[in-house]
Structures are given as structure tokens and as C-alpha cells.
């Protein structure tokens, strides 16, 4: 078996440093396997979140060689030879080692008005056509790994957590707005409370999404267009002024 060195950030809210660990690596191993081996052999107190180990739960997000990734889906043989650098997500406060405090995301979810479905058909069923839900299903693939939140400049660099809910919750909003059964209207909130204007469409979120969701093109841009149609279309503005809001 070959050996490989991992430079892992160790520390807490007070500060920390990178520590090198060298472990044996085998065929097919992913970064998370190496972290588990480091825990078992060198640093049992090393903190790291994980669950499914198959890219389905979004727990083991971290930055590997500077890129936000799921450690359970990052094969060692896909990385350039040499030392692998592993550090926690940057957009959120550190708890310990590779674990960050992502509770802010869970608070955002609570702010989003949930589905308000229309009445069922007389036979007790809802009817929706597959082609009408394809886009919604694309957004619902989200595993809440928060890699998109981590890489979003508005959150990562400008720390505008108060103003913008971030890409993850923009697509949550998009799936609700595009849901064929939904009767609510969140456009005003999307503009005023959730901060759609902050996104400047750099598509970094789309690039890191492990589920390959078209976050920017399929989710955020259409929401921005709906906001524009409502607020910046002079004809619509006039009609609203004269006849009142449509909902």
C-alpha cells in the first residue's frame, strides 16, 4: 500500500493550525476514508461530520485542496499527487477541526413560507404532469451540503448573511414558486427579505453542486426575472398602481 500525507486544519473558535498526518491508502479510497483512518490511528478526537458515505446526505462537506467538496465522493486518485490539504468550510463559524456551525442555514429555512397547495381533485388525488414537475424535482435533489452557500461570494467574502439567504434557499424558493400545486406568492419576499438582488450570477454555486443542479440558470435567474417582471416592468407597475396587486 502507498502512503499519503494529509494536511488537516486542527483548531476551534480560538484559532488553529494545519497538522500533517501520513496514513496508508488503498484502491478506491476517498478523502473521508483517509480521515477515518487518521481518527483510528493518530487523532481519535479529530472532529468531522459524516453519515451516508455515498453522496446522498450532504454531511461531510469540507474544502479539499482549496475546493469545497463532499469528502465521501472525492477519490484520492482524482487529486494531484502529493499532500492533500483539508480544511473546514469558510463561510461558517468554526466549531472544531473540520466541523463548522451551519445552524444559520436551518434558520433561513424556517423563514421560507412553505407550500400552500390548492385543493385536491374530487377523487382525493392531486394531478401534476411529469413535464411540469421535472424542474421542481431537479431542485429537490438538493442534499443540503451547503457547498453552494460556502462558495457564494455574498456569504463567503462579504458576509451578507443578514441580507441574502444564499443559493441553497434560492432554489428552495424556486421549487416552491414553480410547484404546480402552489398558490402562495413569495415574489415580494424574494426581493425584499431573501435578497435576490445580491446574487451577481457568477455561477460558482452551480459549479460546486455535487447534485449538478442548475442553481443559477434554472433557479436563481428565473426568480430574478419574476422579480423584475413584477417590480421593474413599467406597464405592470402602472396596472398594479391602478388596479392593486394581483394577489
Amino acid at each position: 500500500m502507498a502512503q499519503r500525507t494529509f494536511k488537516i486544519w486542527r483548531g476551534d473558535r480560538e484559532g488553529g493550525e494545519f497538522v500533517d498526518y501520513t496514513v496508508e491508502v488503498g484502491p478506491g479510497m476517498v478523502v473521508l476514508d483517509a480521515i477515518h483512518r487518521i481518527q483510528a490511528e493518530h487523532a481519535s478526537e479529530l472532529a468531522c461530520r459524516w453519515n451516508c458515505k455515498a453522496g446522498k446526505c450532504g454531511s461531510c462537506s469540507m474544502e479539499i485542496n482549496g475546493k469545497p467538496r463532499l469528502s465521501c465522493m472525492t477519490r484520492l486518485n482524482s487529486l494531484p499527487e502529493g499532500t492533500v490539504t483539508v480544511q473546514p468550510l469558510k463561510a461558517f463559524p468554526i466549531v472544531k477541526d473540520l466541523v463548522t456551525d451551519v445552524s444559520w442555514n436551518f434558520e433561513q429555512n424556517k423563514r421560507i413560507p412553505p407550500l400552500k397547495p390548492k385543493a385536491r381533485d374530487a377523487d382525493g388525488n392531486h394531478r401534476m404532469m411529469q413535464e411540469d414537475v421535472d424542474r421542481v424535482q431537479e431542485f429537490r435533489k438538493c442534499i443540503e451540503c451547503f457547498l453552494c452557500q460556502d462558495v457564494c461570494h455574498v456569504l463567503r467574502d462579504h458576509k451578507q448573511h443578514e441580507k441574502f439567504v444564499g443559493p441553497r434557499f434560492m432554489i428552495r424558493l424556486a421549487q416552491l414558486e414553480m410547484h404546480p400545486l402552489d398558490t402562495d406568492d413569495r415574489i415580494e419576499k424574494i426581493r425584499k427579505e431573501f435578497g435576490s438582488g445580491w446574487c451577481n450570477i457568477t455561477r460558482c454555486c452551480t459549479e460546486v453542486c455535487p447534485e449538478h443542479i442548475g442553481i443559477t440558470d434554472n433557479g436563481i435567474i428565473p426568480l430574478k426575472e419574476r422579480v423584475v417582471d413584477r417590480y421593474y416592468d413599467p406597464v405592470a407597475w402602472f396596472i398594479r398602481k391602478v388596479f392593486g396587486s394581483k394577489k
Binding site: E45, A47, N51, D101, K110, L115, H126, L181
Partner: protein, 616 residues
């Protein structure tokens, strides 16, 4: 901390405390909140990460959207036959009847299932289900379920306590009145007081080396309920899912959905032979295709054709794969081949099984639209668990309820794929309702300081002792030992060896040492899990030794075949006065006549109304 007055402990009070936030726990909490009670939901991970997320194929509910011949009686019959008639009759009935409405309710809360051409919820074929029955979203149905419940639940006033691990249940006399837990990020203790507690903690799959389960499945609920005096049942029935990944080693055991076979995938050995035709059990022979030609017609939608043998129940398929590998006909890395590439066009595979496509592409560098997958059995699910009342889900301890995988009864000796997600929502709701009803009549109980102190001391001992064994090493030894001695095929000698080894591992675990502080400490968490894993393993092993027959997921090499007298008994495990584990062979009550008739009927007689037509 150990000597501190408990009045200094952080204390949180709820009417109902739900432990575990997978499908069952979330659904229970939603029911409690809907009934207006103060509800707390505790989970070891972040919300939405529980193993429900890994469920792929779908949730079984006889809605009849794809084949109108389906109804609750056929679903009930399939469930009983799949469970080898050891299921709790009432639970199997309630499940089959209530699942459709529970699924429709999810749609109200935002779930977006795949659709039929008419726009209804689509349903897919699965092992052991006579008709297409599984409501699904591609191969990520569990994610849809958990996210739907999560997104709905956070608006219902449930207080969610994330990354919090419960150490022990606390009792006031006979009754459960709370729990002691710790926050994973700080290691600080927290005391929960509650009028009723619902356990929704899943199984103990992490006691095996090759498993689809994550670290969370350490049998916490089983062990805590057992220590609180509750009875456990049917623990000998541990399901080995036939298709886990086998290569590369780091993903060995990761689940490959049964949906692959439901959508046309077939199993082949290294000689290219489609071997499942050689393993059709008598009971299913009349309803299973016996030629490739007939199986192919079924796949094309011919309703007169019988189902392919790859869709036999999981116990049957797992044993068949095991036998092929043992006979030297396995694949390169000790599995068999699962081939959908030669059966279904590539774009359909990518559409219907997108996460399988990515999983193999990224983890194994295999393109499943062009190559076969290598698969083998993986420990997946506990049919057994805490014994509960069918209607209320109350355990044998007042105030303590259980739902989902940690509860026993619905699945008998073998669970059908798709019956787990529906189990979660049917009995999660029922457990929530049961707990609310209990809480309405009960006040808060008294917290016994001695119990709290004992629990804290056990936890801190791992940190405080000078030296000791590495908890990861003990866990790994346990996993090797259980995989070797309590696997798919069991013998008296191996089970007895396992019991001896468990004693040694118990002693080792008691001396485990966790280094550094209690703050988010993986070694400490692992040390704390060992007690629960070991107790669960002991219960499984002793139950397996007691049941001298082969039924469903429990196969004894020394007692082949089902023995009629054994269907009359459940194996019950409980804690004796002196702390010893008592194993009891207990007679089951007979099933109600109409249900027995339905379960044993010929499908034609059931469908033509000859059987139990008046029973609604």
C-alpha cells in the same frame, strides 16, 4: 461535573420527547405538534441527515395508480408472505390500510413524486410486491421523504435539538420520564424532562463490517429501551440486502437500490448465467416466471406474465448470491453481476436511476449504462426491535413509545423493500398520537438524581481514566466478529463463539479510553456507542441461537427450512432482575380469522372476492 447538583444541569422540558429524526421520528413529532403539545426532537446528526435519506426505491402504498388491481388486502398478503407469517397481524393490516393516505399527505406538504401519464403518483415494481406499488422519486425517495417532513416540520413549532446524543432514559418508578443527553459540539450534558418519550433510533447495523448503515446505527434505542425494562422481539431477523457494492473496498456495503431490479436489472454469475431461476422457493413458484422469455414479457408490461425471479424477497436473493459466491461462481471481487446496461436504454437508466449512475461512476469508476455492477449482500435492516402495541406503538414500559426500524412487528422475519418508508409514516404518526394521548393523562415525573449521576459517570469515565484501549479498535473487532459469526448463514457453534467473544469485547469496551476533551470528540462518541452496539449484538446472537429453524432473514445451516411449530413463537429478550439477559420463546396470539384467510389465500381467490370480501 459528576458530583454536581442536577439543578445546575441544563434542563429542557417537553410534553413529548422524540429521539431520532429520520422518517419515523419526524413524522411522530409532526403528529405531536399537530395535536398542540410541546414537542422536542433530538437527533445525533444535523436535521435531514438520518439514514432515511439513503432509502432509494420508494414507499409501498396500495394506491392502485399504475395497476388498479392493487388494494390493501393484496399489500397485506404480500407483507405477510414476505415476512414468512411471523408479522404482527394488526400492524401489517394497519400499515397496508393507512399507507396510501400517508403518502398523499406528503404531497400536501410538498413532496413531488414521479408521475403517471395521467398525472397521478407513479408506482414502481419491487421485490415481493405483486403490483407496481412503490411511490418514488427516481432513486432518491428517502431524500424526498425526509426533506418533505423536515420542511413541513420546521413550521409546526417543533423544537429541534440537533447534534445531541441521548445516553440513557430516566425512569420514575415504572414510567419513563425523560432522558440524559449531551451536546456533541461541547460535550455538555443536558437533561430532558418529558411526559412521554418516542424512540425512533433505527437499528444497529454498524455492528457488522459490511453494512449499508452509517455510524448512527449503533442500536441506541434498542439498548436504552432494554435497560429501561422494555421487551425486545424478533432480533434474530437481520436483513442482508442482496445488493451492496463490493468494490472498491472503501465502499463495500454501500446500498445499490432494488429499483435496479424493479426496472429490469438481472443477476448473473461469472459464467454469465442468470442464476435466480435456480432459487425459486416453493411458496412463490406459482407467482414467479420460470423462463427468461416469460420474465422478459413481464418487463415489457405483459400483465399475464409472472414476475422475474430477481424480484423475489430479499432473504431469498441474498442467500442465492451467497450460494453462488461460495460455489466459486462469483465475480472478480467476491460478488455477482447486476446488469441493467444490456436490458434498458442508457438514457432511461440515467433518468430512472440517476444516483446509482453517479454512485458507480464516481466511487467505482463503473458506467452502469455500459457495464454490469458488482454486488453482494450487505447488512441493511433490523426487522426485530422493541416490542410495541400495534395501535399506539407503546412499548412494555409506560410512557415509552417506539416507531420505525427500532420497533418490531410489522415485517416479521423479512421486510419487503418499500415497506420501510411506509412503515415510518404510518407508525411514526401512530406513535406520536400514542405519546400525546399518554402525555395528556400523565404529568411530568420526578427525576432521580442517582440515575442521572450514574449516566454522567459512565460517560465521563472514558475521558477521565489514565489509559485504556482504543475505542475504534474495539468497534472494528466487533464488526469483524459479527460479520464472521452472525452472518447470513448461521450455525450453533459460530453463534456460541460469538457469545463468548461478546463477553471479551464487553470487558474491553469497559476500559476504552477517549483522549482530549469532550468537545466534538470522535473517539469519545465511539466509546459511548460501544455499550449499545454490544447489547444489540448480544440480543441478536442469543435470539439467533434460540430459533432453531430457518425463516426469512434468519438462516441456520444446522436447522434448514421453515419449521411449522416455530411460526407460533416470537423470541423475546428482556433484562432480568440481576441485570442478566433473559431470552424467552413466547407463544404468539393467533391472527384474526379474516386476516389469516387473506394471508393464506390464492391470489385469484382474493381478487375474485372469494376470500374475506366483507372484511373492510
Amino acid at each position: 461535573m459528576a458530583a454536581a447538583d442536577i439543578s445546575e444541569l441544563q434542563t429542557i422540558e417537553h410534553d413529548v420527547l422524540v429521539i431520532g429524526a429520520g422518517g419515523a421520528g419526524l413524522r411522530a413529532a409532526i403528529e405531536c405538534a399537530a395535536q398542540g403539545v410541546n414537542t422536542g426532537l433530538v437527533c445525533k446528526s444535523l436535521l435531514g441527515k438520518a439514514h432515511t435519506v439513503m432509502a432509494e426505491g420508494g414507499m409501498a402504498a396500495a394506491m392502485g395508480n399504475v395497476d388498479s388491481r392493487d388494494n390493501w388486502k393484496v399489500h397485506f398478503r404480500d407483507t405477510m408472505r414476505g415476512g414468512k407469517f411471523l408479522n404482527n397481524w394488526r400492524m401489517a393490516e394497519l400499515h397496508a390500510k393507512e399507507a396510501p393516505e400517508r403518502v398523499r399527505e406528503l404531497e400536501e406538504w410538498g413532496a413531488v413524486f414521479d408521475r403517471t401519464k395521467q398525472g397521478l403518483i407513479s408506482q414502481r415494481n419491487f421485490g415481493g410486491h405483486r403490483y407496481p406499488r412503490l411511490a418514488h422519486v427516481g432513486d432518491r425517495t428517502g431524500l424526498e421523504l425526509i426533506r418533505t417532513l423536515q420542511d413541513h416540520g420546521v413550521h409546526q413549532g417543533i423544537q429541534v435539538h440537533m447534534e445531541c446524543t441521548v445516553l440513557d432514559l430516566l425512569k420514575d418508578g415504572d414510567r419513563v420520564v425523560g432522558a440524559l443527553a449531551y451536546w456533541r459540539d461541547t460535550g455538555r450534558f443536558v437533561l430532558f424532562k418529558a411526559k412521554a418519550v418516542v424512540l425512533a433510533t433505527g437499528g444497529a447495523g454498524k455492528a457488522w463490517r459490511v453494512t449499508s448503515n452509517s455510524w448512527e446505527y449503533s442500536g441506541d434505542g434498542l439498548a436504552m429501551a432494554y435497560l429501561a425494562g422494555a421487551e425486545l422481539m424478533d432480533l434474530e431477523f437481520t436483513q442482508f440486502h442482496p445488493t451492496g457494492m463490493v468494490w472498491p473496498p472503501s465502499v463495500r456495503g454501500t446500498l445499490v437500490t432494488e429499483g435496479v431490479r424493479g426496472d429490469g436489472g438481472i443477476l448473473k454469475n461469472k459464467d454469465g448465467k442468470r442464476f435466480m431461476f435456480d432459487y425459486i422457493p416453493e411458496r412463490f413458484a406459482a407467482e414467479t416466471a420460470d423462463t427468461e422469455e416469460e420474465a422478459n414479457r413481464w418487463l415489457k408490461g405483459d400483465k399475464a406474465a409472472r414476475r422475474p425471479p430477481e424480484l423475489l424477497t430479499r432473504d431469498v436473493v441474498a442467500r442465492a448470491i451467497n450460494a453462488e459466491v461460495k460455489a466459486g461462481r462469483g465475480s472478480e471481487h467476491g460478488g455477482v453481476y447486476l446488469d441493467i446496461a444490456s436490458r434498458v436504454p442508457a438514457e432511461i437508466i440515467r433518468k430512472k436511476l440517476p444516483s446509482m449512475y453517479h454512485q458507480f461512476k464516481e466511487l467505482a469508476e463503473v458506467d452502469i449504462t455500459a457495464q454490469p455492477m458488482e454486488v453482494g449482500p450487505t447488512l441493511h435492516y433490523f426487522m426485530g426491535g422493541i416490542r410495541v402495541d400495534a395501535d399506539s406503538q407503546m412499548t412494555t414500559v409506560p410512557g415509552l413509545f417506539a416507531a420505525g426500524e427500532c420497533a418490531a412487528g410489522l415485517h416479521g422475519a423479512n421486510r419487503l423493500g418499500g415497506n420501510s418508508l411506509s412503515d415510518l409514516i404510518v407508525f411514526g404518526k401512530r406513535a406520536g398520537a400514542g405519546a400525546c394521548e399518554f402525555a395528556a393523562k400523565a404529568g411530568q415525573g420526578a427525576i432521580d438524581e442517582a440515575q442521572v449521576h450514574a449516566s454522567m459517570r459512565r460517560a465521563t469515565d472514558f475521558l477521565n481514566r489514565e489509559s485504556g484501549v482504543n475505542p475504534f479498535v474495539v468497534q472494528e473487532k466487533l464488526q469483524e466478529m459479527m460479520s464472521h459469526n452472525v452472518g447470513i448463514i448461521r450455525t450453533k457453534a459460530e453463534l456460541e463463539t460469538a457469545i463468548e467473544k461478546l463477553k471479551e469485547l464487553d470487558a474491553e469496551a469497559a476500559t476504552a479510553k477517549a483522549h482530549a476533551t469532550s468537545q466534538y470528540n470522535a473517539g469519545w462518541h465511539t466509546a459511548l456507542d460501544l455499550r449499545n452496539l454490544l447489547l444489540s449484538s448480544e440480543a441478536v446472537t442469543k435470539a439467533a441461537l434460540t430459533r432453531e429453524e430457518s425463516r426469512g432473514a434468519h438462516t441456520r445451516d444446522d436447522f434448514p427450512g421453515e419449521r411449522d411449530e416455530w411460526v407460533k413463537y416470537n423470541i423475546i429478550i428482556k433484562r432480568g432482575q440481576g441485570g442478566e439477559m433473559i431470552v424467552e420463546k413466547r407463544e404468539r396470539p393467533a391472527g384474526p380469522a379474516p386476516l389469516v384467510e387473506i394471508a393464506n389465500s390464492k391470489i385469484e381467490d382474493l381478487e375474485s372476492g372469494k376470500v374475506a370480501a366483507d372484511y373492510k
